[in-house]
């Protein structure tokens, strides 16, 4: 039984908004290869995560899907910066399955009277949910859609409702819509950016983290020109 023990990996605990899941899916292996740091990521709705941070959940860095929830961690004195640090801008899209009756998809389907169910993320817990409500209101779809709205806890759950065919349409993040699984099983259209407040995704490094260096390494990596330039292909816009 004398197997040599595997070299202990450096693990960084990341709490991340659900929309970032497909992004880290792509970036994490690169980052690990480059730095030797393995990312252990816990995804959820931004508000749920921020609350766990504030209650002392032992994460090293928190990627929120907006400014508010990241700032909440800052204002409770748990961040190592005086402000939340923006790292990307998010985009809201309308998604439907390939076999849905709304193809070819365009935003005006939200005006149809025979809608059955449209899923969004919980507007109180998830920034993409808040953006979705605002977009529906600005475009005057809200009255028509409201009776058919169903809410997922996070943007990922909202996407899941539509992907499993239970909801016909979903207002989700472009990051999820462009991920391979969703690209293969459905199609999406963008909302014009002026119909919802900018989704300014911010991060904070936790002051209590024993590896703030490594956490900053990750944040710097995301903010590096190379990755920022790459973000568009992952459904995000660069912050600069």
């Amino acid at each position: 039984q004398a197997k040599p023990a595997p070299k202990p990996k450096t693990e960084l605990h990341v709490a991340s908004a659900a929309d970032m899941q497909p992004v880290f899916e792509v970036l994490a292996p690169y980052f690990e290869r480059k730095t030797g740091i393995h990312l252990v990521i816990n995804y959820g709705a931004s508000s749920v995560l921020s609350e766990q941070m504030i209650s002392g959940a032992p994460a090293d860095i928190f990627f929120s899907a907006d400014y508010v929830f990241a700032e909440r961690v800052v204002s409770s004195g748990m961040a190592d910066s005086t402000d939340a640090i923006p790292y990307a801008k998010g985009t809201l899209v309308l998604w439907t399955r390939k076999d849905s009756r709304f193809n070819p998809l365009h935003l005006e389907v939200l005006e149809r009277k025979d809608l059955k169910s449209v899923s969004i993320a919980n507007p109180d817990h998830a920034p993409y949910g808040r953006a979705a409500v605002s977009a529906l209101q600005k475009m005057k779809f809200y009255e028509n859609v409201a009776p058919h709205l169903v809410q997922g806890e996070s943007v990922a759950q909202a996407a899941q409702f539509a992907q499993t065919g239970n909801a016909e349409l979903a207002l989700i993040s472009e990051t999820i819509a462009t991920s391979p699984k969703f690209k293969n099983s459905g199609s999406f259209v963008l909302f014009p950016t002026y119909v919802y407040p900018e989704i300014r995704q911010c991060a904070v490094v936790l002051r209590s983290s024993p590896q703030r260096d490594n956490a900053h390494k990750l944040l710097d990596y995301i903010l590096s020109d190379e990755i920022q330039a790459h973000l568009a292909s992952l459904g995000l816009h660069p912050i600069k």
Binding site: E51, D124, Q151, E153, G165, N166
Partner: protein, 222 residues
């Protein structure tokens, strides 16, 4: 306090408990008093829904009852819409999730009945189903009570299945547990405490009512 959510929750818990008692009592009878060897396998299967985290159970129901499966398509054809995001969908999920709590205490109770009562009823000409209804069930009423209380309370507190299957539609699928969760999430602790307190109070009163009756009944014993 979200009155709409409270009423919805009570309705869901009541219907789930009723449905489960109708399903669970005969099932428990077959498991405890039947002779088929199959029942040991069924007994193991009945306990299974609880080992899946409720959210995962909810997810499988979401897929299984949705348009991606034959079962789901049949349901959609019959109802005109998927079960998900409807009150009936929540009932289905809650029934499945609470099944073991409804069945197992009753099975255990039935197993410890003195067989002489059942034999006496048989030799007096009572059919198996009459023996079960008129003798066995009344003899295990404390176990049935325990099962019903567990089922009801468990459904009141049910969260994961509702979260996955409900879609949080106020008045239709947003139960008190979801709105309580929301309040906590929104850092609205005052409201959350208020709701939780109310929930605990209502439940305590309901339970005292259930158990308090024994308080008087028991007095007549020697």
């Amino acid at each position: 306090m979200d009155k709409e959510a409270l009423l919805l929750t009570l309705r869901l818990a009541t219907i789930t408990t009723l449905v489960l008692m109708i399903l669970a009592l005969p099932l428990a009878g077959w498991l405890a008093l039947g002779r088929s060897k199959l029942r040991y396998i069924v007994e193991a299967l009945v306990a299974l829904p609880i080992v899946l985290p409720p959210t995962v159970l909810g997810f499988y129901l979401l897929v299984g009852l949705g348009p991606l499966t034959a079962l789901g398509r049949t349901i959609i054809r019959l109802l005109g819409h998927p079960l998900a995001f409807t009150f009936s969908g929540l009932v289905v999920g809650s029934v499945l999730y609470s099944l073991p709590f409804a069945v197992q205490p009753v099975v255990a109770g039935l197993r410890s009945i003195d067989p002489r009562y059942l034999e006496a009823a048989q030799t007096l000409g009572a059919s198996p189903s009459r023996v079960f209804r008129a003798i066995a069930l009344p003899l295990v009423k404390s176990s049935i009570l325990a099962a019903a209380v567990l089922t009801f309370m468990h459904t009141v507190g049910e969260f994961g299945v509702v979260l996955m299957l409900g879609g949080g539609i106020p008045g239709r699928t947003q139960t008190l547990s979801i709105s309580l969760f929301d309040q906590v999430q929104n850092f609205d602790y005052a409201a959350a405490n208020h709701t939780a307190l109310w929930l605990l109070l209502a439940s305590t009163i309901a339970l005292l009512f259930v158990y308090g009756r024994s308080l008087f009944r028991r007095n007549s014993d020697a």
